[in-house]
Structures are given as structure tokens and as C-alpha cells.
Amino acid sequence: MSVPYAKLPGWVEYGLVPLVNLAVAFLVAGLVVLLVGENPLEAAYHLINGAFGRGEYIGFTLYYATTFIFTGLAVAVAFHAGLFNIGGEGQAYVGGIGVALACLWLDKLMPWYVVFPLAMVGSALFGALWAFLPGWLQARRGSHIVITTIMFNFIASSLMVYLLTRVLKPLGSMAPQTRTFAEGGQLPKLDWLLSIFGLNVGTAPFNISFLLALAAAFAVWLLIWRTRLGYEMRTMGHSPSAARYAGIRESRIIVITMMISGGLAGMMALNPIMGEQFRMQLDFVQGAGFVGIAVALMGRSHPAGIIPAAILFGVLYQGGAEIAFEMPSISRDMIVIIQGLVILFAGALENMFRPAIARAFAMRGQRAAALVETKGA
């Protein structure tokens, strides 16, 4: 997205501006807490304590963060090519089929380290497939990607209800879910990683897919900034007409970008399905596809920003649960408000405070220049 304002130093652009936006989002959220008749400071305390207070809490925070790294990367990759993939929700949902199929097929025959790569490929494949059609329709038929991906979210949700109530549900069971996977379909926890820091992961489902998420973040960085494809994607995102003049095949890039984006969103399904519930349930995505939008916006579409942004949202989800527990008049839906506010201030209103910040820096710059001048004379 173009920035029609003066160039700011890197740390201001990527550090200060998002922080100011975030702070405003939290201030407004604090007002909502006040409106409900509770103390925002107390809520903030429970948020921080609930997210970091114990090893188990940290485990949960990182478990949520894992999910959001995937969906955040998915949105970010599409952003770079100027595409707004709002369909992460549906792509992640359909990606679950890939995980479930691999697990249902092999969980009793193979250990997890055989099933995991297969599930990984499956989830990425199904997610990419679900993103392929909107991408293809945009590239070839000019249908607006935002609208088609929204529609595909709804179609995915109908499809999954159908699959889970009629096809994948074990015989004789009432609940719309697959059977519970045997040991081969369960990912090992990352308890050793936290125990390095002397923390006990407890019951938290913090699992090996966190490492996969970090690897995916690195791979996305490589792709976007170190490959020809990434360069072409960025060119297209920056100026479609320049890309066309440069001979970049627009439709090809759109389809590939959307498939990569969908594949990343699909891999999100590994974390809840193989890492926590050990079965595919209805609605396991729980809005993570949309959180990805906020994460990508907060993280300025850079993996180095997305990981902390994802952890921030992990804090919100885990700490939010704690607030809901400690302060009954605030339910977990508080997170949804904060998420919306972050999207609003970090995304749609990202330029609201930029002129003021830029002016402050211009003034400082002038003063420094004046100082140099007087010294020189």
C-alpha cells in the first residue's frame, strides 16, 4: 500500500507508528471497559498476568500465536502482491481436511513424524486449492478478490458442516467431528523448549507446529525479499502498470500468490487439529483467518513484525480468557473489540497520526540542520 507521506526513519515507520496506533486502540478498548463499569487497569493486569503469569499461560499464549503466525503470513504474502486475501478463514478451514485425511489414514500405522509432513502437505494443498479459484477468477475473469474470498468463506463453512455431519463423522456418533486420532495423529508438545527457561508448560497445547510457523516465517522472508518471484510480487503490489511494462505475467503471479497465501492459511489447521484437539471439529478456525488481517497490518507485512504481532494477539487471546474468568462482566468478546480496533487504527486509520509524527521529526531535523549551519559559520 502506498504511503503518500514523507519518508520516516525505519524505527519510526516500523516501530513508533504501529505502537502509537496500538496504544490508541488499547485506549479506546479501555473506554469500553469503563463503559461496562469495570476498571481498565485491573483488566490490563489480568491480561498481562493471564498471558505470562505462569509457564502454562505462556504455553497457551504461544499456542495461539502459532496459529496467528500462519494466518498473518498468509494475509501478508497476498498484501505484497497488492491482493487482499480476506478468505484466510475459509482456506484454513478447508486446509483442515488435508490434516484430517492424513491423520485418519495413517495415525494408527505410523508415528507422528511420518504423519506430520504428510498432514503439512495436505493442509497446504487444500488451503491452496481453496485460494486457487478466487485467484484464478481475479486473474482471468477480473472478479474482485475481496468479494470472492468472502463468498468462499461462506461456501467453505457450508461445505465443512456437510462433511463433518455426513461424511467424516464416525458411525453412531452424534457430534459433528471426526474420530479422535491415535498417537500418530498427535503432535508432541514443546515442553522442552519452555523448560530451558525453567517454565512448566503444564496442560498448554504448545506444540511442535510453533517451530514450523517460525520456519514458515523465515521462508516467507526468503520468498518475498530474496527470490525473483518475490520481487515480481512486490513490483506488482507496488505498481501493477510498472509490472506489466516490465513483462511480469500478472495473472500468473496473482494465482501463485493466492495459492501460497492459501497454503499458509491452510497450515494453520495443523496447530489446533493435530496439536490440541486431536480431531477435526466444527468451527475449529474460530476467526483466526480474520485475526491474520490484524496481525499482518500490525506487523507491516514483514515476518519480523508478524511474529511479535502474532504473539501480541496470542497474549490477547490467552489473557482475554483470564480477564473473562476474573472479571465476569467482561466476556472474551472483549478480544474481538480490541482486534477490530487494532484493525481500524493500524490499518484503515494508519495515516491518522503519521502527519503529526512526521512533523515532529521534520522539526527535529530542521533544528539539527540549523545547528550544523551555525557551527559551520
Binding site: 500500500m1 503518500p4 469500553v32 463503559l35 461496562v36 463499569g37 487482499f84 480476506i86 479459484l133 477468477l137 475473469r141 477480473g142 472478479s143 474482485h144 475481496v146 468479494i147 470472492t148 468472502i150 463468498m151 468462499f152 461462506f154 461456501i155 457450508s158 461445505l159 458442516v161 456437510y162 455426513r166 480474520f290 488481517i293 497490518l297 462482566s329 467482561i330 466476556s331 468478546d333 472483549m334 478480544i335 474481538v336 473489540i337 480490541i338 482486534q339 477490530g340 480496533l341 484493525i343 481500524l344 490499518g347 484503515a348 486509520l349 494508519e350 495515516n351 491518522m352
Partner: protein, 323 residues
């Protein structure tokens, strides 16, 4: 005769579920024609439904409820307008944000104010819309064919239902027969030309966004004050997106909007009706397929397979005055 009876019942429920779609899709028509994409129809409708339910429950007056709905919806529209017109932010991002904020806020505030699991209290007699019966509807009901059509299909709806369908020609008239409408459409196609003519693009777009807010307010009020007696959390359940689909399906034309909404409403009514019942020739159709049909149809339409849907040219692009 039995088939006829089923048809009347089906069409009656089609009208009932189409009303919020008609309001919301017409709302979207105003902003999108003015060049502001709006995927926050869902959020505005939900916010309005909550405001209507809450205000009507407290004041026990349906009109206070309606006013609150319109007020909240217009305020949300102005937030969207501020972000996408004044701040030139991304319109989609702003819309997504509003949907989130409202989804969370209605639950939190509802729970804090009424403590009924996110619902508002059930509304008393004067706090919700009453059914309007046409004169002689009961007397004529037993007349074959004409009776049920007059008594069940035309009569016996809410005031807002009639308003929704009246809004279709009114919107058409405003958009295609008034100076304001001409300028509004121009601003969605070529804001530069409008600006050159000395008309404020910003102010025009704000007015379009306010029109959208008013109509979404009606849509929300219909949900909580007419369709049901009170607000239930998440009660819009994707209707805003269906309205958006209908708007595209109608290719941004008011009369087509009505038919698209009726079609999607009919599919919805049919899906409920057909639940579990096998169809001749096709066999049993999964309900999920029926529910997904509006979305699938929209995708097919967008792909240009059943005519091309061309959005207003300047849609989604913030206007920057020549520097």
C-alpha cells in the same frame, strides 16, 4: 390446492426474510454507487439491531428503538466515512474493523447492561412493531386463490416491510432522477469530473455514507423490533454479506436489488422448508448446499458466466485532489 397453500406460505416467509436484505443491499447501493466499498453492512445492521433492542427495552417505545438504530448505524457509517474518505484509508480494512468492533461490543454491552447472555429483554407490546392488517383481510381470506394472496401475502406484514419495498422505487428515483443522485453516481465513476465542476467530492460521499447508515439502521431495527421481539447476539448471521452478494448480483441497480434479495430470501425459505425432504428427480439436496447457493451464484456471476457485474469505476479508491 395443497401446493398452492405451500407456495403462499413459502412466498410469505420469503418476503419476511428478504426485508433486512433489501434494506441493507439498498444501503450498500448508495455508498458503492458513490465509490465507497462497504463490507461493514453486517456490522452496521448488527449494531443497529442491538441499539434498537436495547433502546426499545428501556424506553418501551418502538420509535425510540428505531431512532436509536438509525443513530448508531449512521455513527458507524461516519466512522467508515472518516477512515475511507477523510483519512483515505483502505475501505475494506475499515469495513472489516467495524464488523469486528460491533460483533464484540454488542455482546459486551448487552451482557453488561441486561445480564441475559448477550440478549436484550423480551420486548413488550408497545416496544415492537405490530403487524399491519389490510382492511377486509380476514373477510376475504376464504376466497380461493385471491383470498390467501391478499390476506397472507400482501397483508399482515410489518410497517418496515412495506417501507423496505417502498424504498426500492424511492432509491431508484433518488439515484436516477434527482440532481443529488446524478452527482452521487458521478462521484462513483469519475470523482475528478465532479470536483472540476466545483462540487465537493468529500461532502457528496459523506452524504452517501449517511444514506447507507439510515437504511442499515432500518434493517437492524427490523431484525430486533419486528422479526423477533428483542436482540440476540450475532443475530444478523451473515445477512450483511448476503446483502452484499445481492448487490453485486443486481449489478448495482435498485430494482434488480429487490429481485436478487427476494431470490436469496426464497432460497433461504426453501432451504428451511426442504430440510430433509427429498426432491423429485434430484433426490435429497443437502441443506448446506442450499445455504451456500447465494454465495456460489454470486461467484459464478462475478466470474462473468451469467453476465458481467461491473462495479462503479471509482469504487474502493479514495479521492485525492490534484496536487
Amino acid at each position: 390446492m395443497d401446493f398452492f397453500h405451500v407456495l403462499v406460505v413459502l412466498l410469505e416467509s420469503t418476503i419476511r426474510v428478504s426485508v433486512p436484505l433489501v434494506f441493507a443491499a439498498l444501503a450498500g447501493l448508495f455508498t458503492e454507487r458513490a465509490g465507497v466499498f462497504d463490507i461493514s453492512l453486517e456490522g452496521k445492521m448488527l449494531g443497529a439491531a442491538f441499539a434498537a433492542g436495547a433502546a426499545a427495552a428501556v424506553s418501551e417505545s418502538v420509535w425510540v428503538g428505531l431512532a436509536a438504530a438509525v443513530l448508531v448505524s449512521v455513527l458507524l457509517s461516519l466512522v467508515h466515512g472518516y477512515a475511507s474518505i477523510t483519512q483515505r484509508g483502505n475501505q475494506i480494512v475499515s469495513g472489516v474493523a467495524i464488523n469486528f468492533i460491533v460483533a464484540g461490543a454488542t455482546v459486551i454491552l448487552g451482557e453488561a447492561w441486561f445480564r441475559q447472555g448477550g440478549r436484550t429483554p423480551a420486548l413488550v407490546e408497545g416496544a415492537r412493531f405490530q403487524i399491519v392488517n389490510f382492511p377486509g383481510a380476514d373477510a376475504i381470506r376464504d376466497v380461493p386463490v385471491l383470498g390467501p394472496i391478499y390476506a397472507d401475502l400482501l397483508s399482515g406484514h410489518f410497517l418496515l416491510t412495506y417501507l423496505a419495498f417502498a424504498m426500492v422505487p424511492i432509491s431508484w428515483w433518488i439515484l436516477f432522477r434527482t440532481r443529488f443522485g446524478l452527482r452521487l453516481r458521478a462521484v462513483g465513476e469519475n470523482p475528478g469530473a465532479v470536483d472540476t465542476a466545483g462540487i465537493s467530492v468529500i461532502w457528496l460521499r459523506y452524504r452517501a455514507v449517511i444514506c447507507c447508515g439510515i437504511l442499515c439502521g432500518f434493517a437492524g431495527a427490523y431484525l430486533s423490533l419486528a422479526m423477533t421481539a428483542g436482540f440476540v447476539k450475532g443475530m444478523t448471521a451473515g445477512k450483511g454479506y448476503i446483502a452484499l452478494a445481492a448487490l453485486i448480483f443486481a449489478k448495482w441497480r435498485p430494482v434488480n436489488v429487490m429481485f436478487a434479495c427476494l431470490l436469496f430470501g426464497f432460497l433461504d425459505a426453501l432451504a428451511i422448508r426442504l430440510q430433509g425432504a427429498p426432491l423429485p428427480l434430484i433426490g435429497q439436496v443437502p441443506v448446506q448446499l442450499m445455504q451456500a447457493l447465494p454465495y456460489i451464484l454470486t461467484v459464478v456471476l462475478l466470474a462473468g458466466f451469467i453476465g458481467k457485474a461491473i462495479p462503479p469505476k471509482a469504487g474502493g479508491v479514495p479521492y485525492v485532489k490534484e496536487r
